[in-house]
Amino acid sequence: MGADALQREQQLNRFLAEVERRALRIAEIAVRDRDEALDLVQEAMIKLVRNYSDRAGDEWAPLFYRILQNGIRDWHRRQKVRNRVMVWFGKGAAADDDYDVTAQAPDPAGRTPEAQLQADEALRRLEDTVHELPARQREAFMLRTFEGLDVAGTAVAMGCSAGSVKTHYSRAVHTLREKLGDHW
């Protein structure tokens, strides 16, 4: 491997290491399953490296999240169809209520049990409420607030105009304020 290729690999490694944990949590909130989220993130990483490794480093984040969001949308479509087919075969829909954020979280260091409980509860409410947003609003909110992409980057990741990003984001924040208002 040449020096340029080695440098590119190191850049990609740094980029992926930088985004992978947030990407995992974003995917996890969207699909409510850590294993599925891990698969989606790995698939997005592979596709980014395979198809866009030669692009400029500052393009990687929007491209990576575009791949990930497409994967999440595709996952939801397949789940919907899978559940319909399961009903057709008389197997019933897969349960979606066995997700437990508290159980997923490891023991934190340096917090009292009460503080930890409060934080867990706030996080659970936030995740539930974000998950219930319409898909495009959820994408806009998570990419802007959680990942910190700017409007232009979010537009690339979502495959829409900057104006649409602003609209989706504004509606998402409005809905979240309405639903979380009493608790925040």
Partner: protein
């Protein structure tokens, strides 16, 4: 003005909670992320190849089998009015990366058989 301040407060609080959940990811998850990243980086060393083509015959046979089962048996349960299964649904499920669906069906059939056997023993 108050709306803007409230929005900013919500965004900040959501970000803090989200970031703390990222920091608290367990070691096993971090390890799997690390493995996934290295697997992705291996793509840089791999020549581009089209791999799905070799699954096409398998997908074709699987599609034909599923359609045949459906044609013969019809729906096993009550299908919701808005939940009709279409050819497109099967096409989506039988994409090369959805073949695990067939394994699911086998698994659920096995569960049914085990349940039936257990009920037989009890009754």
């Amino acid at each position: 003005m108050t709306d803007t301040r409230n929005n900013e407060q919500l965004e900040q609080q959501a970000k803090v909670l989200f970031d703390s959940s990222v920091e608290e990811l367990d070691a096993a998850t971090l390890s799997r992320l690390n493995q996934g990243r290295h697997k992705a980086l291996e793509e840089l060393r791999r020549p581009a190849v089209v791999t799905w083509g070799r699954w096409a015959p398998v997908a074709g046979v699987a599609a034909a089998a599923v359609v045949a089962v459906v044609m013969i048996n019809g729906p096993a349960g009550e299908v919701p009015a808005n939940g009709a299964v279409t050819v497109t649904d099967f096409e989506m499920l039988l994409e090369a990366d959805s073949l695990e669906m067939l394994e699911d069906l086998e698994f659920y059939s096995l569960l049914d058989a085990v349940d039936a056997e257990a009920q037989g023993n009890v009754g």
